[in-house]
Symmetry: C2
Subunit: 424 residues, 2 copies
Amino acid sequence: MSQSSETGDSRAAGSSFFDVRMRGFRDRADVDDVLELLSRRVRPLPPETIRLDEAFGRVLAQDIVSDVAVPSFDRAAMDGYALHAEETFGAGSYNPFDFAIIGESLPGWPFSEGVRTGEAVRIMTGAPIPKGADSVLQAEAAEEVAGRLRIREAVSPGRNVGHKGEDIDVGAVILRANRLLRPQDLGVLASIGQGRVAVFRRPTVSIVITGDELLPCGSRPEGFRIVDSNSVMLAALTCRDGALPPSVQMVPDSRATIEAAILEAETDVLLVSGGSSVGQEDHAPRILADHGELAVHGMALRPASPAGVGFLCDRLVFLLPGNPVSCLCAYDFFAGPTIRRLGGRSMDWPYQKRRLPLARKIVSAVGRVDYVRVQIVGEKVEPLATSGASILSSTTRADGFVLVARDNEGCAAGEEVQVFLYDG
Amino acid sequence: MSQSSETGDSRAAGSSFFDVRMRGFRDRADVDDVLELLSRRVRPLPPETIRLDEAFGRVLAQDIVSDVAVPSFDRAAMDGYALHAEETFGAGSYNPFDFAIIGESLPGWPFSEGVRTGEAVRIMTGAPIPKGADSVLQAEAAEEVAGRLRIREAVSPGRNVGHKGEDIDVGAVILRANRLLRPQDLGVLASIGQGRVAVFRRPTVSIVITGDELLPCGSRPEGFRIVDSNSVMLAALTCRDGALPPSVQMVPDSRATIEAAILEAETDVLLVSGGSSVGQEDHAPRILADHGELAVHGMALRPASPAGVGFLCDRLVFLLPGNPVSCLCAYDFFAGPTIRRLGGRSMDWPYQKRRLPLARKIVSAVGRVDYVRVQIVGEKVEPLATSGASILSSTTRADGFVLVARDNEGCAAGEEVQVFLYDG
């Protein structure tokens, strides 16, 4: 008891926590350092085994080795006639050869006898090649006349035959761990008899929205209250990044309610929107420092400087500014890569990129990364004029964003920059 | 009765249907003509109204005009102190000015009185600017001393104030119809009080898998039977393209069962896998011609030449070859763009593209489009050696594909080609 109480006291009084409320950040963390911290401390979640029809877009947790050959028998690759190729040599338009049709081989319904000299078996794509035959003459190069086959083309041995194991050999590694499963991967897994597959578990996420001025989504803004826009945006972002549908909770701006919401969350990731900055109602950093680890608070990043990152038991906690552009920016910089990593995905940006010249200069400041919303007009990059942290419509009017590196004072007109495109 | 029977007869005997079974295609349709036909005949489905938290990745069915201003009041853009800017002019580190703190304005909790000369109001980001104040001095530039405010910086009028309507003006068109909704779009919609949104309905899809040789997904291949790989692959592809989860049915290779499955499907789109070619068990084209319209059968496309496209009442029917690579190719060429279009999306390829030089030549034939699986090795494009229509693993080993245009005999080594990348 005494020990744990001491620990609690020492944490609360510890010099590691600097209360920024109404004083401002002493210094701000470098974005790259935060990302380095996250990539060091975040590991994919344990695997789970799921059905193939749920596996599209999931991430393989282990290598897949086939214990069967696909196909497991020689089969026709065309519709036509199975026969012994050597017997067709010399056949041509002016020299047709005739064969006796002794039966047929259909997919799933093999012709069980052998094929001898002068004989052919009608065969459909995918059907087993009967014994004695070594090739398939395609249907269009022959005709059936009074129950006999007349061919006008020679065929070479092995022609139009799909050989046992030609798709997949026994023992072949067909897919590697960490692969984001494609539609066709599911087909290949089905073909080797795997109806289930081990993938990394999807992260669970709680979203806690703070702010007494906020009305829930679906309300009409009225008086001095605005409608919460961060919860639907964050839920969509976590969906994009492979998380399960999150739980969303709106709590009043009091230390007790925010503390309860943070401590009660039992998900892999907790996103706290609002109350992360230097205002007197900004309780979340203190709560995280008291109960867990406030690893970073204050980023050298505009417009998301009041963001924070911490740990609470095994959970990752992201303190996201309430201003919606800052919230989007802080999510995309820190929470997004973390959620993707937990689900076994890449921490890289999920946006397509294009390199294009700037139509106008961008002014930034040395010492911080700038997240600048831009439009692409006539293959040139136009920074948006109206783009404060609270102007969420800047991110809907924009085609994407440009990042100005921390060592840059900005970018000159005409300079080629990398644009991250909001649309896939 | 008699009329309808005549119509049925005339259709069955109609010269428009050429039965290709065991004879081959007379001619094959040009891929571009088929796409042109589809873009002419396929229109987005009617809209439906859904909740914002279900709207990520859906397509807007109408322009969105705001009937509110966001914000609907002037508010603080920083934590700090609301005051009258003119009174701060001349303040500096060596010339601090003092103000009386007469109250505070919090988000959702405005300060209801006015601010007079010599007074300031403590204010948090997002809180309403009280009457009489016109700017916010940020918290870090001031300190509270014995209940009074001491400032060491001047602030200009309007500084750190977010003005009414600065994000969204009344009457502004904030999003246009046909937009694929981004996470931040949902936030903007929430902020103007829209809890629901009209989007194009998602297409419904039935998948009918034919082939007596097929075992259902989850089985182990045995004897002369293989496991159906097309249903899980097609289901994932339709999911990617915005359809609702499809119904899947496996039917035996008989005219009656396939006919029943085709006629009973009541979805917007019907995908029939297998039985589309020139084999005697290939019933689907005949069934479609008898009951609806077999618009195209046989494509100038390798490996998907036995594909077909048709219409049955209001439904779109795609006859996809059973060979899995052909199935993937035919889906991606014809069914995919159709499903995307029905849901209001773009018919363009859903793959990212890169232009890179070929490491080795690709041999094709004039008169058909070739779908060639390739790997990217050291920034060069390597066509895969083993890549028959039945080798689905070629599409998992490949990084993407190259299309050889119908007028080309192939592409030379070193030539720059466009690669469509399977992975996003």
